[in-house]
């Protein structure tokens, strides 16, 4: 399993999140502490456009995706 930490600055707060991925399918599970926030997944058709059925705040989702990309850079 791949697990790493990211920090996302959003709405005047720094969100320290844990990211987990344990399969060949790049669906990343996002946690704040022990609390699961949901999963995010890259839609590579348009480069790296991040989608989620759980995280509805589009700006927050985009920032999470950006941090995952930069972790993998």
């Amino acid at each position: 399993m791949e697990s790493f930490e990211i920090e996302v600055s959003h709405q005047d707060a720094i969100h320290k999140l844990r990211v987990e991925c344990d399969s060949e399918d790049p669906e990343y599970r996002i946690f704040r502490g022990e609390e699961p926030l949901g999963t995010v997944k890259p839609d590579t058709e348009h480069d790296l456009y991040w989608t989620s059925e759980d995280i509805q705040d589009a700006e927050f989702l985009e920032k999470i995706g950006d941090r995952i990309e930069k972790y993998h850079r």
Partner: protein
Amino acid sequence: MDFGLVHPNEIKNIDFTLPPDGEQTKLTLSGLSPATKPEIRVGCSKWGRKEWINSLYPLKTKEANMLDEYSKHFNTLECNAVFYSIPRPDLIRKWKEKMDENALPGFLFLPKMSRNITHIARLENVQAPLDLFLSAIKEFGPYLGPIFAQIGDNQGPKSFDTVKSFVQSLPKDQKFFMEFRHEEWFSDPVIRKELFSLLAENNIGSIITDSSGRRDLVHMELTTPEAFIRFVGNGGDFVDSDRKRIDEWIIRIKDWLNKGLQKVYFITHRHHANSHLLAKYTIEQFNKHLGANIPEIVLQPGAEDETV
């Protein structure tokens, strides 16, 4: 943590001076003549950037058209989208068709090998996914440049035999580069020599990554007469510093070209969104000092360039 990121307060204390050439570079360039027509490419690591609308891309550019717009400005792209999963061949064909219509002459994709092979399987028993990946990627046709494999920072020299088997298994009719992250590949002189010799013997290029937080990756070891440089600028208050670092790269690349370097792939990354402006500066300076002959970036009317 973003790769290579350090706190802004620490940046001023970092020595960005490029180290001297490594031993393998001297061997690789030994006996070569200066390249008469070196191929120099400069690009970014992502095209799907909404922040570039009305700066690099025209106002109202749709996501579906951003690759078309990107390829009108740059002659290469580090293609990270294919890292996340093995791409469908029809998707690669679709991108290739966009190049047929829009791309600058000589445009090349530099695909990052899928994580399924490098980070999940860690190079073990990867022939089947590698074949699938290569089969899809070949759909880029004339726009396919070198493929690069990044070996994660948790895979060190203990897996040397695995790395060796993988390197030797790569097809010889395709150019590859490799990037290593684990510190022990660079800290132990014996391992370092073995690694870069292995790459050189198999005609695999070695990526040099120039970021603030991992100066050991600026190893300056060329294993083929081609350089692939991933340059990570800091942006923001450090635009001047980023530009000075680019200027130093120009001096080194010029020296390498005089010694026989044939191809350069220079990719600008930044922790902020404006890597295109860093690329713009890089192209202007490469044209001026290296005779790169790359079309210069023209921003949208009214768009602001960086000032130092």
